[in-house]
Amino acid sequence: MCLAVPGQIKSIEELHGGLLRKAQVSFGGIMKSASLEMLPTADIGDYVLVHVGVAISKVDEEEAKKTFEYLREIGEVGELEDIDEYLPKTE
Protein backbone atom coordinates (compact mmCIF):
# COMPACT_ATOMS: atom_id res chain seq x y z
CA MET A 1 0.00 0.00 0.00
CA CYS A 2 2.98 2.31 0.36
CA LEU A 3 3.62 2.17 -3.33
CA ALA A 4 4.34 5.52 -4.94
CA VAL A 5 4.77 5.59 -8.69
CA PRO A 6 6.19 8.21 -11.07
CA GLY A 7 3.99 9.33 -13.93
CA GLN A 8 3.62 12.29 -16.29
CA ILE A 9 0.97 14.99 -15.93
CA LYS A 10 -1.13 15.13 -19.10
CA SER A 11 -3.84 17.62 -18.09
CA ILE A 12 -4.90 19.72 -15.11
CA GLU A 13 -8.40 20.59 -14.00
CA GLU A 14 -9.10 23.42 -11.54
CA LEU A 15 -11.99 22.96 -9.10
CA HIS A 16 -13.50 25.23 -6.43
CA GLY A 17 -12.12 28.31 -8.18
CA GLY A 18 -8.54 27.03 -8.28
CA LEU A 19 -8.53 25.86 -4.64
CA LEU A 20 -8.24 22.29 -5.77
CA ARG A 21 -6.09 21.16 -8.71
CA LYS A 22 -6.58 17.71 -10.09
CA ALA A 23 -4.32 16.16 -12.73
CA GLN A 24 -4.66 13.30 -15.14
CA VAL A 25 -1.38 11.42 -14.83
CA SER A 26 -0.10 8.82 -17.27
CA PHE A 27 1.73 5.82 -15.83
CA GLY A 28 3.19 4.24 -18.92
CA GLY A 29 -0.10 4.84 -20.74
CA ILE A 30 -2.47 4.04 -17.87
CA MET A 31 -4.27 7.22 -16.82
CA LYS A 32 -5.23 7.97 -13.22
CA SER A 33 -6.30 11.15 -11.53
CA ALA A 34 -4.16 12.69 -8.80
CA SER A 35 -4.61 15.66 -6.49
CA LEU A 36 -1.98 18.38 -6.97
CA GLU A 37 -2.71 20.10 -3.65
CA MET A 38 0.70 19.09 -2.28
CA LEU A 39 2.49 20.31 -5.41
CA PRO A 40 1.22 23.81 -6.22
CA THR A 41 3.86 24.42 -8.89
CA ALA A 42 3.43 21.14 -10.80
CA ASP A 43 2.56 21.65 -14.46
CA ILE A 44 1.57 19.71 -17.55
CA GLY A 45 4.52 17.61 -18.76
CA ASP A 46 6.09 17.29 -15.29
CA TYR A 47 6.90 13.87 -13.89
CA VAL A 48 5.43 13.45 -10.44
CA LEU A 49 5.46 10.74 -7.82
CA VAL A 50 1.89 9.72 -6.95
CA HIS A 51 0.87 7.94 -3.76
CA VAL A 52 -2.75 6.91 -3.02
CA GLY A 53 -4.18 9.52 -5.36
CA VAL A 54 -1.99 12.42 -4.24
CA ALA A 55 1.07 13.73 -6.09
CA ILE A 56 3.77 14.16 -3.43
CA SER A 57 6.96 15.12 -5.29
CA LYS A 58 8.28 16.26 -8.63
CA VAL A 59 10.88 13.95 -10.15
CA ASP A 60 14.10 15.91 -10.63
CA GLU A 61 15.71 14.75 -13.88
CA GLU A 62 18.97 16.64 -13.21
CA GLU A 63 19.46 14.77 -9.93
CA ALA A 64 18.73 11.44 -11.64
CA LYS A 65 21.27 12.29 -14.31
CA LYS A 66 23.93 13.12 -11.73
CA THR A 67 23.30 9.84 -9.92
CA PHE A 68 23.67 7.89 -13.15
CA GLU A 69 26.84 9.65 -14.16
CA TYR A 70 28.27 8.79 -10.76
CA LEU A 71 27.08 5.19 -10.92
CA ARG A 72 28.45 4.61 -14.41
CA GLU A 73 31.87 5.77 -13.24
CA ILE A 74 31.89 3.39 -10.30
CA GLY A 75 34.53 0.74 -10.53
CA GLU A 76 36.14 2.11 -13.70
CA VAL A 77 39.26 3.00 -11.73
CA GLY A 78 38.86 0.34 -9.08
CA GLU A 79 38.77 -2.45 -11.64
CA LEU A 80 42.25 -1.59 -12.84
CA GLU A 81 43.70 -1.40 -9.36
CA ASP A 82 42.04 -4.42 -7.80
CA ILE A 83 41.50 -6.60 -10.79
CA ASP A 84 43.40 -9.66 -9.52
CA GLU A 85 41.85 -9.64 -6.15
CA TYR A 86 38.43 -8.90 -7.51
CA LEU A 87 38.11 -11.26 -10.48
CA PRO A 88 37.97 -14.60 -8.67
CA LYS A 89 35.10 -13.37 -6.51
CA THR A 90 32.74 -12.82 -9.42
CA GLU A 91 30.74 -15.80 -10.57
Binding site: M1, M38, V52, E61, A64, K65, K66, L71, I74, T90
Partner: protein, 365 residues
Amino acid sequence: MKYLKEYRDPVLARKILDEIRRTVTRPWSIMEVCGGQTHSLVKNGIIDVLPSEITMIHGPGCPVCVTPIHLIDAAIDLAMRPNVILCSFGDMLRVPGSNQNLLEAKAQGADVRILYSPLEAVAIAKDNPTKEVVFFAVGFETTAPANALSLVHAKREGITNYSILASHVLVPPAIKAVINDPLSKIDGFLAAGHVCTIMGNGQYYPLASEYKVPIVVTGFEPIDVIQGILMVVKQLELGTHEVENQYSRIVREEGNKEAKAIIEQVFEVSDQVWRGIGEIPSSGYQIQDKFKAYDAVKKFGISVDAPEEKTECISGEIMKGLKKPSQCPHFGKKCTPENPLGAPMVSSEGACAAYYHFSGTSIPN
Protein backbone atom coordinates in the same frame (compact mmCIF):
# COMPACT_ATOMS: atom_id res chain seq x y z
CA MET B 1 11.87 11.43 -19.35
CA LYS B 2 14.97 9.34 -19.18
CA TYR B 3 15.91 7.60 -15.95
CA LEU B 4 12.76 5.67 -15.21
CA LYS B 5 13.65 2.23 -16.60
CA GLU B 6 17.36 2.74 -15.97
CA TYR B 7 16.82 2.04 -12.30
CA ARG B 8 16.25 -1.61 -13.23
CA ASP B 9 19.34 -2.03 -15.40
CA PRO B 10 20.86 -5.41 -14.41
CA VAL B 11 24.29 -4.57 -15.84
CA LEU B 12 24.53 -1.47 -13.69
CA ALA B 13 23.17 -3.44 -10.73
CA ARG B 14 26.01 -5.95 -11.04
CA LYS B 15 28.53 -3.14 -11.28
CA ILE B 16 27.36 -1.58 -8.04
CA LEU B 17 27.29 -5.01 -6.40
CA ASP B 18 30.91 -5.49 -7.45
CA GLU B 19 31.76 -2.15 -5.87
CA ILE B 20 30.10 -3.34 -2.63
CA ARG B 21 32.25 -6.51 -2.80
CA ARG B 22 35.36 -4.42 -3.26
CA THR B 23 34.47 -2.11 -0.39
CA VAL B 24 33.38 -4.51 2.32
CA THR B 25 36.01 -5.98 4.65
CA ARG B 26 34.02 -6.95 7.74
CA PRO B 27 30.55 -8.24 8.58
CA TRP B 28 27.82 -5.60 8.82
CA SER B 29 24.11 -5.71 9.60
CA ILE B 30 22.01 -3.20 7.72
CA MET B 31 18.31 -2.65 8.31
CA GLU B 32 16.02 -1.51 5.54
CA VAL B 33 13.24 0.05 7.56
CA CYS B 34 10.64 0.08 4.83
CA GLY B 35 8.69 -2.94 3.64
CA GLY B 36 8.71 -1.59 0.07
CA GLN B 37 12.48 -1.99 0.12
CA THR B 38 12.22 -5.48 1.63
CA HIS B 39 9.95 -6.34 -1.28
CA SER B 40 12.44 -4.93 -3.80
CA LEU B 41 15.41 -6.71 -2.15
CA VAL B 42 13.71 -10.09 -2.16
CA LYS B 43 11.77 -9.81 -5.43
CA ASN B 44 14.84 -8.76 -7.40
CA GLY B 45 17.05 -11.35 -5.76
CA ILE B 46 19.41 -8.69 -4.41
CA ILE B 47 19.46 -10.41 -1.07
CA ASP B 48 20.92 -13.57 -2.66
CA VAL B 49 23.77 -11.82 -4.44
CA LEU B 50 25.02 -9.51 -1.70
CA PRO B 51 28.44 -10.42 -0.33
CA SER B 52 28.23 -12.78 2.66
CA GLU B 53 29.58 -10.09 4.98
CA ILE B 54 26.34 -8.14 4.64
CA THR B 55 23.21 -9.19 6.49
CA MET B 56 20.05 -7.34 5.59
CA ILE B 57 17.61 -7.05 8.46
CA HIS B 58 14.01 -6.34 7.50
CA GLY B 59 12.53 -3.61 9.60
CA PRO B 60 9.05 -2.82 10.90
CA GLY B 61 8.15 -0.51 7.99
CA CYS B 62 4.92 -2.11 6.85
CA PRO B 63 1.91 -0.17 8.12
CA VAL B 64 -0.44 -3.03 7.34
CA CYS B 65 1.69 -5.37 9.45
CA VAL B 66 1.87 -3.13 12.51
CA THR B 67 -1.78 -1.99 12.68
CA PRO B 68 -2.87 -3.15 16.13
CA ILE B 69 -5.31 -6.05 16.24
CA HIS B 70 -7.90 -4.16 18.30
CA LEU B 71 -8.24 -1.65 15.44
CA ILE B 72 -8.73 -4.50 12.93
CA ASP B 73 -11.44 -5.83 15.25
CA ALA B 74 -12.94 -2.33 15.52
CA ALA B 75 -12.99 -1.99 11.73
CA ILE B 76 -14.75 -5.35 11.41
CA ASP B 77 -17.22 -4.34 14.09
CA LEU B 78 -17.97 -1.08 12.25
CA ALA B 79 -18.26 -2.86 8.91
CA MET B 80 -20.88 -5.23 10.35
CA ARG B 81 -23.16 -2.31 11.24
CA PRO B 82 -25.95 -2.01 8.68
CA ASN B 83 -25.51 1.73 8.06
CA VAL B 84 -21.73 1.69 7.62
CA ILE B 85 -19.65 1.53 4.44
CA LEU B 86 -16.13 0.56 5.52
CA CYS B 87 -13.39 1.46 3.03
CA SER B 88 -9.67 0.76 3.07
CA PHE B 89 -6.62 -0.15 1.03
CA GLY B 90 -6.78 -3.67 -0.41
CA ASP B 91 -4.03 -5.08 1.81
CA MET B 92 -6.04 -4.45 4.95
CA LEU B 93 -8.82 -6.86 4.05
CA ARG B 94 -6.91 -10.09 4.66
CA VAL B 95 -5.14 -9.04 7.86
CA PRO B 96 -6.29 -11.38 10.62
CA GLY B 97 -8.27 -9.86 13.47
CA SER B 98 -8.99 -11.74 16.70
CA ASN B 99 -11.69 -13.89 15.08
CA GLN B 100 -11.89 -13.01 11.41
CA ASN B 101 -10.72 -10.53 8.79
CA LEU B 102 -12.54 -7.83 6.82
CA LEU B 103 -12.87 -10.08 3.79
CA GLU B 104 -14.82 -12.61 5.85
CA ALA B 105 -16.99 -9.80 7.20
CA LYS B 106 -17.65 -8.79 3.60
CA ALA B 107 -18.65 -12.36 2.74
CA GLN B 108 -21.16 -12.15 5.58
CA GLY B 109 -22.75 -9.13 3.97
CA ALA B 110 -20.80 -6.20 5.38
CA ASP B 111 -20.30 -3.32 2.92
CA VAL B 112 -16.50 -3.34 2.69
CA ARG B 113 -14.87 -1.55 -0.22
CA ILE B 114 -11.30 -1.52 -1.48
CA LEU B 115 -10.14 1.94 -2.53
CA TYR B 116 -7.04 3.28 -4.18
CA SER B 117 -7.23 6.63 -2.39
CA PRO B 118 -8.93 8.05 0.73
CA LEU B 119 -10.19 10.89 -1.46
CA GLU B 120 -12.49 8.37 -3.16
CA ALA B 121 -14.06 7.63 0.22
CA VAL B 122 -15.16 11.26 0.54
CA ALA B 123 -16.92 10.96 -2.82
CA ILE B 124 -18.65 7.77 -1.65
CA ALA B 125 -19.83 9.62 1.48
CA LYS B 126 -21.22 12.40 -0.68
CA ASP B 127 -23.09 9.90 -2.87
CA ASN B 128 -24.48 7.97 0.13
CA PRO B 129 -25.79 10.63 2.53
CA THR B 130 -27.83 8.14 4.56
CA LYS B 131 -24.80 5.94 5.28
CA GLU B 132 -21.76 6.45 7.48
CA VAL B 133 -18.60 6.08 5.43
CA VAL B 134 -15.49 5.13 7.42
CA PHE B 135 -12.03 4.99 5.87
CA PHE B 136 -9.63 2.68 7.72
CA ALA B 137 -6.65 4.98 7.36
CA VAL B 138 -3.36 3.23 7.98
CA GLY B 139 0.04 4.36 6.89
CA PHE B 140 3.40 5.93 7.55
CA GLU B 141 4.23 9.61 7.08
CA THR B 142 3.90 9.02 3.32
CA THR B 143 0.18 8.32 3.54
CA ALA B 144 -0.69 10.79 6.32
CA PRO B 145 -1.11 13.81 3.97
CA ALA B 146 -3.64 11.97 1.76
CA ASN B 147 -5.59 10.76 4.78
CA ALA B 148 -5.52 14.26 6.29
CA LEU B 149 -6.57 15.76 2.98
CA SER B 150 -9.67 13.57 2.91
CA LEU B 151 -10.82 15.15 6.19
CA VAL B 152 -10.09 18.65 4.90
CA HIS B 153 -12.10 17.91 1.74
CA ALA B 154 -15.02 16.49 3.74
CA LYS B 155 -15.04 19.49 6.06
CA ARG B 156 -14.85 21.96 3.20
CA GLU B 157 -17.78 20.32 1.44
CA GLY B 158 -19.83 20.10 4.62
CA ILE B 159 -19.91 16.29 4.47
CA THR B 160 -20.78 14.98 7.93
CA ASN B 161 -21.15 11.25 7.26
CA TYR B 162 -17.43 10.67 6.73
CA SER B 163 -14.81 9.68 9.28
CA ILE B 164 -11.49 7.86 9.45
CA LEU B 165 -10.31 5.08 11.73
CA ALA B 166 -6.69 6.19 11.91
CA SER B 167 -3.67 4.01 12.59
CA HIS B 168 -0.65 6.08 11.72
CA VAL B 169 2.91 5.12 12.49
CA LEU B 170 6.10 7.18 12.30
CA VAL B 171 9.53 5.99 11.21
CA PRO B 172 12.11 7.86 13.37
CA PRO B 173 10.71 6.68 16.74
CA ALA B 174 10.65 3.12 15.34
CA ILE B 175 14.33 3.36 14.34
CA LYS B 176 15.08 4.58 17.83
CA ALA B 177 13.13 1.71 19.40
CA VAL B 178 14.95 -0.81 17.21
CA ILE B 179 18.38 0.62 18.12
CA ASN B 180 17.50 0.67 21.82
CA ASP B 181 16.37 -2.96 21.79
CA PRO B 182 19.13 -4.76 23.72
CA LEU B 183 19.00 -7.71 21.32
CA SER B 184 19.42 -5.70 18.16
CA LYS B 185 22.79 -5.32 16.49
CA ILE B 186 22.23 -3.00 13.58
CA ASP B 187 25.16 -1.09 12.14
CA GLY B 188 23.41 1.09 9.58
CA PHE B 189 20.02 1.98 8.15
CA LEU B 190 18.37 2.52 4.81
CA ALA B 191 15.70 5.11 5.58
CA ALA B 192 12.41 5.00 3.69
CA GLY B 193 12.60 7.34 0.71
CA HIS B 194 8.90 8.04 0.44
CA VAL B 195 8.58 8.92 4.11
CA CYS B 196 11.38 11.46 3.63
CA THR B 197 9.67 12.77 0.48
CA ILE B 198 7.07 14.15 2.89
CA MET B 199 9.05 14.86 6.07
CA GLY B 200 12.50 15.68 4.67
CA ASN B 201 15.73 14.43 6.19
CA GLY B 202 15.90 16.66 9.27
CA GLN B 203 14.66 14.09 11.80
CA TYR B 204 17.48 11.68 10.95
CA TYR B 205 20.47 13.88 11.79
CA PRO B 206 20.04 13.61 15.58
CA LEU B 207 19.51 9.83 15.27
CA ALA B 208 22.66 9.35 13.18
CA SER B 209 24.83 11.41 15.50
CA GLU B 210 23.38 10.23 18.82
CA TYR B 211 23.57 6.53 17.96
CA LYS B 212 26.55 6.78 15.61
CA VAL B 213 24.80 4.95 12.78
CA PRO B 214 24.95 5.85 9.09
CA ILE B 215 21.48 6.49 7.66
CA VAL B 216 20.98 6.61 3.90
CA VAL B 217 17.65 7.85 2.54
CA THR B 218 16.96 5.32 -0.21
CA GLY B 219 14.53 4.69 -3.06
CA PHE B 220 12.80 1.50 -4.11
CA GLU B 221 14.02 0.41 -7.53
CA PRO B 222 16.72 -2.28 -7.58
CA ILE B 223 19.46 0.24 -8.42
CA ASP B 224 18.26 2.53 -5.61
CA VAL B 225 18.40 -0.19 -2.99
CA ILE B 226 21.80 -1.53 -4.10
CA GLN B 227 23.26 1.97 -4.21
CA GLY B 228 21.80 2.70 -0.75
CA ILE B 229 23.54 -0.40 0.59
CA LEU B 230 26.82 0.66 -1.04
CA MET B 231 26.57 4.10 0.57
CA VAL B 232 25.95 2.58 4.02
CA VAL B 233 28.82 0.09 3.58
CA LYS B 234 31.23 2.85 2.51
CA GLN B 235 30.36 4.83 5.63
CA LEU B 236 30.67 1.78 7.87
CA GLU B 237 34.07 0.92 6.47
CA LEU B 238 35.21 4.53 6.96
CA GLY B 239 33.68 4.74 10.43
CA THR B 240 31.43 7.72 9.61
CA HIS B 241 27.79 8.18 10.57
CA GLU B 242 26.21 10.73 8.31
CA VAL B 243 22.74 11.13 6.84
CA GLU B 244 23.00 10.79 3.06
CA ASN B 245 20.36 11.02 0.37
CA GLN B 246 20.51 8.35 -2.34
CA TYR B 247 17.01 9.30 -3.56
CA SER B 248 17.74 12.92 -4.44
CA ARG B 249 15.62 12.80 -7.59
CA ILE B 250 12.57 12.57 -5.34
CA VAL B 251 13.54 13.62 -1.81
CA ARG B 252 14.24 17.29 -1.07
CA GLU B 253 16.17 18.10 2.09
CA GLU B 254 13.17 19.90 3.62
CA GLY B 255 10.55 17.40 2.37
CA ASN B 256 7.20 18.61 1.04
CA LYS B 257 6.11 21.81 2.78
CA GLU B 258 2.45 21.61 1.73
CA ALA B 259 2.18 17.98 2.82
CA LYS B 260 3.74 18.73 6.21
CA ALA B 261 1.35 21.65 6.68
CA ILE B 262 -1.72 19.51 6.06
CA ILE B 263 -0.47 16.85 8.50
CA GLU B 264 0.01 19.57 11.13
CA GLN B 265 -3.46 20.91 10.44
CA VAL B 266 -5.19 17.59 11.09
CA PHE B 267 -2.98 15.30 13.20
CA GLU B 268 -0.89 15.48 16.36
CA VAL B 269 1.85 13.14 17.53
CA SER B 270 0.73 10.47 19.99
CA ASP B 271 1.93 7.19 21.50
CA GLN B 272 1.10 4.27 19.26
CA VAL B 273 0.81 0.51 19.62
CA TRP B 274 2.63 -1.47 16.91
CA ARG B 275 1.30 -4.96 16.37
CA GLY B 276 3.90 -7.55 17.36
CA ILE B 277 6.15 -4.90 18.90
CA GLY B 278 4.10 -3.04 21.51
CA GLU B 279 3.71 0.62 22.36
CA ILE B 280 6.38 3.02 21.11
CA PRO B 281 6.28 6.52 22.62
CA SER B 282 5.40 9.38 20.25
CA SER B 283 5.35 7.04 17.27
CA GLY B 284 1.95 7.78 15.75
CA TYR B 285 -0.58 10.42 14.81
CA GLN B 286 -3.98 10.98 16.33
CA ILE B 287 -6.65 13.30 14.99
CA GLN B 288 -6.72 16.75 16.59
CA ASP B 289 -9.78 17.84 18.53
CA LYS B 290 -10.86 20.33 15.91
CA PHE B 291 -11.44 17.42 13.52
CA LYS B 292 -13.00 15.12 16.13
CA ALA B 293 -16.28 14.96 14.20
CA TYR B 294 -14.30 13.00 11.61
CA ASP B 295 -12.58 10.69 14.08
CA ALA B 296 -14.28 7.27 13.95
CA VAL B 297 -12.89 6.40 17.40
CA LYS B 298 -14.82 9.32 18.94
CA LYS B 299 -17.81 9.17 16.62
CA PHE B 300 -18.53 5.50 17.31
CA GLY B 301 -17.10 5.26 20.83
CA ILE B 302 -14.44 2.70 19.92
CA SER B 303 -12.29 1.43 22.76
CA VAL B 304 -8.63 2.25 22.19
CA ASP B 305 -7.25 0.01 24.93
CA ALA B 306 -5.05 -2.53 23.26
CA PRO B 307 -5.60 -5.97 24.79
CA GLU B 308 -2.75 -8.45 25.09
CA GLU B 309 -2.63 -10.36 21.79
CA LYS B 310 -2.39 -14.14 21.89
CA THR B 311 -0.80 -15.39 18.73
CA GLU B 312 1.50 -18.01 17.30
CA CYS B 313 2.85 -15.41 14.89
CA ILE B 314 6.38 -14.21 15.68
CA SER B 315 6.05 -11.03 13.61
CA GLY B 316 7.63 -8.94 16.39
CA GLU B 317 10.86 -10.92 16.23
CA ILE B 318 10.81 -10.73 12.43
CA MET B 319 10.30 -6.96 12.41
CA LYS B 320 13.03 -6.36 14.97
CA GLY B 321 15.34 -8.38 12.75
CA LEU B 322 15.88 -11.13 15.32
CA LYS B 323 14.56 -13.85 13.00
CA LYS B 324 14.09 -14.36 9.27
CA PRO B 325 10.62 -15.31 8.02
CA SER B 326 11.88 -18.77 7.05
CA GLN B 327 12.83 -19.34 10.71
CA CYS B 328 9.19 -19.06 11.78
CA PRO B 329 7.86 -22.59 12.39
CA HIS B 330 4.62 -21.70 10.60
CA PHE B 331 6.18 -20.14 7.50
CA GLY B 332 4.77 -21.76 4.37
CA LYS B 333 3.01 -24.43 6.46
CA LYS B 334 0.26 -23.18 8.71
CA CYS B 335 0.87 -19.63 7.44
CA THR B 336 0.58 -18.79 3.74
CA PRO B 337 -0.70 -15.74 1.85
CA GLU B 338 -4.00 -17.61 1.32
CA ASN B 339 -4.31 -18.38 5.03
CA PRO B 340 -2.13 -15.87 6.83
CA LEU B 341 -1.55 -16.36 10.54
CA GLY B 342 0.01 -12.92 10.86
CA ALA B 343 -0.04 -9.62 9.04
CA PRO B 344 3.49 -9.83 7.52
CA MET B 345 2.21 -12.72 5.38
CA VAL B 346 -0.59 -10.53 3.99
CA SER B 347 0.82 -7.30 2.67
CA SER B 348 3.12 -7.29 -0.33
CA GLU B 349 5.42 -5.19 1.86
CA GLY B 350 5.39 -7.75 4.66
CA ALA B 351 8.67 -9.64 4.99
CA CYS B 352 6.97 -13.04 5.24
CA ALA B 353 4.93 -12.53 2.04
CA ALA B 354 8.02 -11.27 0.20
CA TYR B 355 9.97 -14.38 1.21
CA TYR B 356 7.06 -16.66 0.36
CA HIS B 357 6.55 -15.22 -3.13
CA PHE B 358 10.05 -14.46 -4.25
CA SER B 359 12.69 -16.35 -2.34
CA GLY B 360 15.05 -18.02 -4.76
CA THR B 361 14.57 -15.53 -7.59
CA SER B 362 17.63 -13.62 -8.70
CA ILE B 363 18.76 -10.70 -10.80
CA PRO B 364 18.58 -11.67 -14.47
CA ASN B 365 21.88 -11.60 -16.30
